[in-house]
Structure formats: structure tokens, C-alpha cells
């Protein structure tokens, strides 16, 4: 007998060991359940992380814009309208009013991790006879690259943005027949012109975007777009990506800006992510329930099988509390041991599936994400499930009348 184990643990371990086949089967059942949870959770987390990485590293999580310009009806006098019908005005590209103050307010928010003022506008890029209308993003590289990981998407050249540089999409480069080091003539609608050197080519994973995207330094873009000192958007990243919409609403309510979160602008994608999470939660719940019922069923049978032993134990001075704990420990042990085997099975299944499931280009479908927290969480969940499942049989065992139990 192990001197470090208390009475209840010694009894529980021996009872489980004696009912070997029963114990092996139920641990097998728990292991499969836990393996499903580990496999599903790790795979979905990997897929989700992949999707989120793709979406959120190529666009800001929250974007602040100047509010819509609206036309107001003319008034003759108090409460009297000249003409109630007003036409929506065309939206001029204007700067966010007092943007430095708003940006510094954003930086002071604890849930905000990065803030970058940006200017967006349409320009024409010309190289020789080829010209394309594109979107020019004027950015401060130090802060902007924390939000949109442009350096990660560079396929040629480098993520350098001095006042003379421009980074363009690979499709645009193809259309213009240009490459890194070539000069581009950039013309704004106002007639302003700058000659910029291509410092890098980016591939954001979307052909349409790659045909239109151009990055220049903030001041270069400001001067080209005729908005010296102005910015059209403030891009933000936050600590909890799923809280982006709620934070955006708070920002909008407190400032004269329009705040769009990635959740709002990628509603379909976000719904898919939510659906995945809900499915995973449901699977965990049902697997957990079936594991709990399995443990409870085995322990109920065990209480019946052990009723004479329980009677003898009670006769020799074992308290009801001790009997209760003997069965609770059995439930907890079954859950815990099952979770260990299940975690190993889940990891094997995941590694195997990871090696099989590939994208069309041969790259991995999802990154292999085996976080320690998943295993700790699963072991805890299985152990608590085991304890809860053992509650009813344990109470039944503790309540057994020793006279009836011994008589059998």
C-alpha cells in the first residue's frame, strides 16, 4: 500500500483495478471522447487562426473614417421647410477633423494595441504607355506595419517607404510591366504628379486587390492628394479581435467619426467563424455528456456489485463521507486517466490528418496548433465531468443501509 495515498484513494484505485475489463472499457470510451474534443478543438483553432491571420493581417480591425457628408433641407423659418426633398451629396475626400487628437485618444485606450493614421485616395499610375487607376494608401510604416503586416506579404524588394518609394501589388506590376527599382509616374486627379521608385511588390492573396493596391509614405500621399496634414482614416488593432465591433461602437459614440470593425465589414466571414465556434462548443457538450453518462453507468453498476463490500466497510467504521469520496475519486480518476489517453489519441489523429489535408497549392490546410492550455483544459473538463458523473452513484453508495448491503 502506498503510504502517501489516503484511504479513499487506496479503495478507489483497488476497486477500479479489480473491475479491470469494466475500467478498460470506460477509459476507452472517455479517451475516444477526449480525443474527439482535442482533435476538433485543435483543428478548428488552426483553421480559424489561419483564416483570421489571412483576413486580419491584411486589413485593420477597426477603421475610423470621416462621417458621411449629409445635405440638410433648407428652412424658411422656425419649423417651416423650403423643400423637404434633399439629394444625397457626393462624398468628397476629406480629412478626419482633429485626427491627431482622436489618434492620441485611441492610443490611450487599454484595449487598443496599435493606431495608424492613413490617407486613401485614387490616383493614376503611369509607366510608359501603360496606366492604371489605383488606390493609393499613404501610411506611416512603423505604425501601419503593426496593423497590416505588409512586410509578410512582400514577394520582391523590401518593405521600405521613404518619401520617394512606392510598394505596389504584384498584379499591378504585371499590368505595368514594372518591377522593383522601376520608376512610376503617379498622378492625382488634381493634377499633382510625383515620380516614385518601386521598393517592393506585395501579394495580399486577392487578385483584385493586387491590381489596385499601392503604398506610399504618408507625407508623399498627403501632398499628392492635396491634403497636407490630413488623414482620411485611422486604422486600429485591438487586444480582443472579437470585441472589435463593441469597441468600434464605443469609439463612434464618443467621437465625430464613423468606426467600422472587421466584424461589420466581413460579416459573412465572421458568421462562419462564429458558426465554427458554436459547432465546436456543441460537439464538446455532447461528447462531455456521453462521457458523463458512461462514467455514471459504470459506477452505478459498481455500487451494486460492491454493495457487500460497502456494507463491510460501513460495519468496520467507515463513514458515509468516506464511502462517498471513494466513488467520487473513482469518477475523477476515470475522467483524468481517460483524458491523458484521449489527449495522446487526439494528437496522433491531428498530426495524421494534418499530414493528409493539404490545400491545392500543397501548403498545409491549417497550422498545427497544440497549445498546452488545450490539454490542461481538456484534462480539467474530463476530471470535473468524472466527478460530477460520479456524484449520483457516490451518494447512492453512501446512503446504502449497511444491514441491507451485508445481507445482499
Amino acid at each position: 500500500m502506498n503510504r502517501w495515498l489516503p484511504f479513499e484513494w487506496i479503495m478507489a484505485v483497488r476497486f477500479l483495478r479489480e473491475g479491470r475489463l469494466q475500467t478498460i472499457f470506460i477509459i476507452g470510451g472517455i479517451s475516444i471522447g477526449v480525443a474527439v474534443i482535442v482533435f476538433m478543438s485543435a483543428m478548428l483553432a488552426g483553421l480559424q487562426a489561419n483564416f483570421i491571420k489571412r483576413v486580419l493581417t491584411s486589413q485593420p480591425q477597426i477603421q475610423l473614417l470621416a462621417p458621411d457628408q449629409v445635405a440638410r433641407p433648407l428652412r424658411k423659418g422656425a419649423g417651416e421647410l423650403e423643400d423637404a426633398l434633399v439629394q444625397r451629396p457626393s462624398q468628397r475626400v476629406i480629412s478626419i477633423d482633429q485626427w491627431p487628437k482622436i489618434a492620441s485618444q485611441m492610443r490611450a485606450m487599454p484595449e487598443v494595441t496599435a493606431v495608424s493614421p492613413t490617407i486613401l485616395g485614387s490616383v493614376l499610375v503611369v509607366r510608359g504607355d501603360a496606366s492604371r487607376s489605383v488606390t493609393l494608401s499613404g501610411v506611416e510604416p512603423d505604425s501601419y506595419f503593426k496593423i497590416v503586416k505588409v512586410p509578410d506579404y512582400i514577394v520582391a524588394g523590401e518593405p521600405r517607404l521613404t518619401s520617394e518609394d512606392i510598394i505596389i501589388g504584384i498584379e499591378l506590376a504585371k499590368d505595368l510591366g514594372a518591377t522593383v527599382g522601376d520608376k512610376l509616374n503617379v498622378r492625382a486627379a488634381s493634377g499633382a504628379t510625383r515620380v516614385l521608385t518601386i521598393s517592393g511588390l506585395v501579394d495580399l492573396g486577392n487578385k483584385g486587390v493586387n491590381q489596385r493596391i499601392c503604398y506610399a509614405a504618408l507625407r508623399t500621399a498627403q501632398s499628392l492628394l492635396g491634403m497636407i496634414g490630413g488623414v482620411t482614416t485611422i486604422d486600429i488593432t485591438v487586444t480582443d479581435i472579437y470585441a472589435a465591433e463593441e469597441i468600434a461602437q464605443r469609439i463612434q459614440a464618443a467621437n465625430a467619426v464613423e468606426a467600422d470593425s472587421w466584424i461589420k465589414t466581413n460579416a459573412q466571414f465572421f458568421t462562419a467563424v462564429q458558426a465554427q465556434q458554436n459547432t465546436n462548443t456543441l460537439i464538446r457538450l455532447f461528447v462531455g455528456l456521453s462521457v458523463a453518462f458512461g462514467i455514471a453507468a459504470v459506477l452505478v453498476v459498481s455500487v451494486i456489485q460492491r454493495s457487500k463490500d460497502i456494507g463491510i466497510l460501513r460495519a468496520m467504521g467507515t463513514s458515509r463521507g468516506q464511502v462517498l469520496r471513494v466513488f467520487l475519486v473513482q469518477g475523477g480518476l476515470l475522467g483524468f486517466v481517460g483524458s491523458l489517453f484521449g489527449a495522446v489519441m487526439g494528437v496522433f489523429a491531428l498530426v495524421y490528418w494534418h499530414s493528409l489535408a493539404r490545400q491545392a497549392d500543397g501548403t498545409e490546410l491549417f497550422p498545427l496548433m497544440l497549445e498546452r492550455s488545450l490539454f490542461i483544459y481538456t484534462a480539467l473538463l474530463a476530471t470535473i465531468t468524472g466527478l460530477l458523473a460520479a456524484m449520483a452513484p457516490a451518494v447512492r453508495a453512501a446512503k446504502l443501509d449497511p444491514v441491507v448491503a451485508i445481507r445482499g
Partner: protein, 237 residues
């Protein structure tokens, strides 16, 4: 004064006293059945008492009440002079564990454990953790019942007589004042039955532990200090 001293010493020598104990089942229902009627019984320290009676006479019910496994419907049960009526479940369990040892006819030992571990069990339940002291006492008790060589054997790998001797050792583990034995030899052959009885008698003589032995065997009963007969839930004088 002399009478009072005599009374006190008499009380101190009493391990067990039943006063007008009745036991009924289905109380308050039309099927109410009284199985024990006004039982008065006294057992002194060191006494070896045989309890006899036909099947269904109430012997086992009486033994369960004396063993604090069941409670009387009315009357008083005093263990070492202490009235048990007011005690709660936890106190009853503790009193039973420390004062009374049991030897049953069937289901003698817990099969998942060895002979030594079975003997250690009551001490383990009381102390919470195993210790060298507990193990040494179990070995000593097994030696006392002549089974030191079988200490590591699983209960299922022992004969009925051996199991019953281990059960006697287990009943003595907590050094109880009283051992209740419910037909401990009823399932054994004559030789084993005699050996188990002699073992209990020896313990009784050596340590002064009281025994209340339920038996159908008249030969064994005659070798006890006193015989009590229960017939139809009453003690026949």
C-alpha cells in the same frame, strides 16, 4: 456507600446493556411487524455469550442493533454505559469502529485486497493513511490467527476457514471491547469451525474481549460462558 461503589463497578464491567428494546418494521403502516419484543440483555467485559434460536427468531436483528448497524424502535441500548439513542450517524459510526468488531458468515473479506490489507482496513479507515505501525499490527494479528505466511495472499486465494480467521483478525484490528460474530462457523467444515471457534475463545481469554456469537451449533454454544435463546423475538429465560 458500599452499594453505590458496587453499582459503579458493575456499570464499568458492563460492555453492553439492552433495556426493553423493541424493533418493528413498517412502523405506522398496516403491515407493521414487531420482530423484537422488550429485550433485556447484559454483557460483561470478557464474557463469551452464545445467542441461539431458530431462523427468523430475530437473532440477526438483535445483532444488528447491538452492532449499531440498526436502531431500536423503542427501549435503550447502552454501550459501555453510554446511551446510543441520542448519537448522530457520525458518532454512531465512530463508536462502532472503535468499540465493536464484526465477523460475518458470508462475504468475509474484501476481495480486492490481500489478507494483510483486509486486516489493516479498519485502522486505515480510522487514521486516513497507511503507516508502518498499522502494517505491523496487521502482521501481528495475522500471526495471532496463524496466517502470517498468507499475509500477502488475495482474499479469493484463501480457503473459507483461512478467510474466517483473517476476518477474526480484522475484527480485532481496532482492539474492540466487543466482537459480534454472526454464525462465523456456519459455512465451514467441522474442523475449520472448531479451529475458528477456538481462536475466538483464545482471544477472549487472552485479551478479555467480549464475544457475542450467533450460532446454530449446540456443541459450540455449550463451550461458551452463557447461552441466550431468542424465540419469536423474545429472550427465553
Amino acid at each position: 456507600m458500599a452499594n453505590r461503589e458496587e453499582d459503579a463497578s458493575q456499570k464499568a464491567s458492563e460492555i453492553l446493556k439492552l433495556e426493553r428494546v423493541c424493533k418493528a418494521y413498517n412502523v405506522g403502516l398496516p403491515t407493521e411487524t414487531e420482530v423484537l419484543h422488550d429485550i433485556d440483555l447484559k454483557l460483561d467485559h470478557g464474557e463469551f455469550l452464545a445467542l441461539m434460536g431458530p431462523s427468523g427468531s430475530g437473532k440477526s436483528t438483535l445483532l444488528n442493533i447491538v452492532g449499531l448497524l440498526d436502531r431500536p424502535t423503542s427501549g435503550r441500548l447502552l454501550i459501555k454505559g453510554r446511551d446510543t439513542a441520542a448519537l448522530g450517524d457520525a458518532e454512531i459510526t465512530r463508536l462502532r469502529g472503535h468499540t465493536i468488531g464484526f465477523v460475518f458468515q458470508y462475504h468475509l473479506l474484501i476481495s480486492a485486497f490481500t489478507a494483510r490489507e483486509n486486516v489493516m482496513m479498519p485502522m486505515l479507515a480510522d487514521r486516513g493513511f497507511p503507516s508502518a505501525e498499522i502494517e505491523a499490527r496487521a502482521n501481528r494479528l495475522l500471526g495471532q490467527v496463524g496466517l502470517e505466511k498468507f499475509a500477502g495472499n488475495l482474499a479469493n486465494n484463501m480457503s473459507g476457514g483461512q478467510q474466517q480467521r483473517v476476518a477474526v483478525a480484522r475484527a480485532l484490528a481496532m482492539n474492540p471491547d466487543l466482537v459480534l460474530a454472526d454464525e462465523p462457523t456456519g459455512n465451514l467444515d467441522t474442523r475449520s469451525a472448531d479451529a475458528v471457534f477456538e481462536l475466538m475463545r483464545q482471544v477472549n481469554r487472552d485479551s478479555g474481549t467480549s464475544f457475542l456469537l450467533v450460532t446454530h451449533n449446540m456443541d459450540l454454544a455449550r463451550r461458551c460462558d452463557r447461552i441466550i435463546e431468542v424465540v419469536d423475538g423474545r429472550i427465553r429465560a
